[in-house]
Amino acid sequence: MAAVALTMGFAVAAPQAMAQAAPAADANVANPASAAPGLDDAAAEPMPDPWARANHAFFRVTRSVDKAVIAPAFRAYNRVVPKPVRNGLDNAIQNLDEPRTAANDILQGRFKGAGNATARFAINSTFGLAGLFDLAGKSGMERQESDFGQTLGRYGVKSGPYIFVPFAGPSSLRDGVGRLVDIFADPVGLIAGGLGTTFGDVRAGVAAVGERSGVGDQLQQVDQEFTDPYATVKSVYSQQRASAIALARGHSQTDVDQLPDFGPTPQTPTPERAAPAPQKPAGPDPDSPGSSQ
């Protein structure tokens, strides 16, 4: 099986999603006809978490070290290193992932996506000066990553248990195995050298730095905006993976059949300006906008 690497540093992949760059939805879907309803992980369900105790412990340690050491270091890094330089490095590192994406796209039957990744790699490696500039992206060929965990999911392999990898981030049994396959079968790694070679180690290091620096203070945002950061990161990661697999199957971003229903409008006193009026139990809400369906 030839498939390729998601380089290292999957850092804190999850919260990143809340704010930034998404895979292009419909751009790369070759065959909008490959749904297999019921096969995949439901979009709305978080991954099973039988190892919750260990995961919680890893999550806690990772977050406190991140807060105390890593986040401040990256704040300094982002201040000192100019944005164009950081972008260039990110581009160059991500460019090396394109062959892996192309290989996985082929395995997934997304030939258009594979063509896109191949063309991007060719253009950016040459005219984009070894990938420093994303010229292909500027001319409308958007970057879109594929990985082997996604390939497995596309053919019906379930996520298996959720795993929070210390100092790396959320994953699952399936995606962890996928990552190993991606690393060891990475075309660029096989040719230019994988982990253990200078090239491979530098590449992994720069990738990890780039990922974490891109996450910025979004971890803090999770703290401010959600009440249970552990559950939130797990939820976000589970949804992202379900969405990546839906994309691989030719859906656009989401498999609508997997969405939960919205129940009826709850009977509540109109929350508009809910004055703490003494008692008065809830009754039907006269100005509820729920004239819907």
């Binding site: 704010a19 498999d255 109109t270």
Partner: protein, 223 residues
């Protein structure tokens, strides 16, 4: 002799592999999801999202407005186009059934404020200028997922954002928004339910945590 047997074996294996690949392809192509995904667009829902979504993006990217004015205008739009009461019930998950009227009376306003603030932060993070509807899928009549792409402004490449809207005819309401594969209300539901679970089913624990966060938000300005 043995070599001929070997060749035959090889042929059989090759045939089996080809058959397997063919079968996989056939199954994936013939699967019924496809027809469904293509057939059920909803023009009314698309029109609603195109208009209101663009209105939000335009407001948030307006450099002439002061942050407090922006927040005020944004809240007004959310009240108008989102079905906040319905979202309020949804994010409580299984606890929507056991919440007491008194608790609901405290939860609803704090959640409304929270929701407006979270939506404003998340949508501002997109830094886009224009929104374009690219399609829609009706899960069932009156329950539609509209796909859009936000581009321009600070976005280096177009960002796909999906909107889940409920309603019909000319009257629609947003109940959830998805970016990067992540639905906001679904995430909130899993977050809130887990928080209540962790406190032995005590919904008041969630309410007081949200109240604390609101106080911190106010103290820290709009940041």
């Amino acid at each position: 002799m043995t070599s001929r047997r070997f060749t035959r074996l090889l042929t059989q294996v090759a045939f089996a592999v080809a058959l397997a690949i063919g079968a996989t392809l056939a199954v994936s192509i013939a699967s019924p999801g496809a027809a469904f995904a293509q057939s059920s667009r909803d023009a009314g829902a698309e029109q609603f999202v195109q208009g209101q979504g663009q209105r939000i993006i335009t407001l948030l990217s307006n450099p002439a407005l002061s942050p407090p004015d922006k927040t005020r205008a944004f809240k007004a739009i959310v009240d108008q186009i989102a079905d906040v009461p319905r979202i309020t019930g949804f994010v409580l998950g299984k606890y929507a059934r056991s919440i007491t009227p008194a608790q609901m009376q405290r939860f609803a306003p704090i959640f409304r404020a929270y929701e407006q603030s979270v939506y404003e932060t998340q949508l501002s993070n997109f830094h886009g200028r224009t929104l374009r509807v690219t399609g829609s899928v009706a899960r069932r009549p009156g329950d539609v997922v509209v796909s859009t792409v936000i581009s321009g402004g600070g976005l280096s490449q177009p960002l796909p954002v999906a909107w889940r809207v409920l309603g019909g005819g000319g009257s629609w309401k947003v109940v959830d928004v998805q970016a990067s594969g992540v639905w906001l209300a679904i995430t909130q539901q899993q977050d809130f339910v887990s928080t209540i679970d962790n406190h032995g089913g005590d919904i008041d624990a969630l309410i007081s945590q949200l109240q604390q966060q609101a106080r911190r938000r106010e103290a820290g300005g709009s940041n």
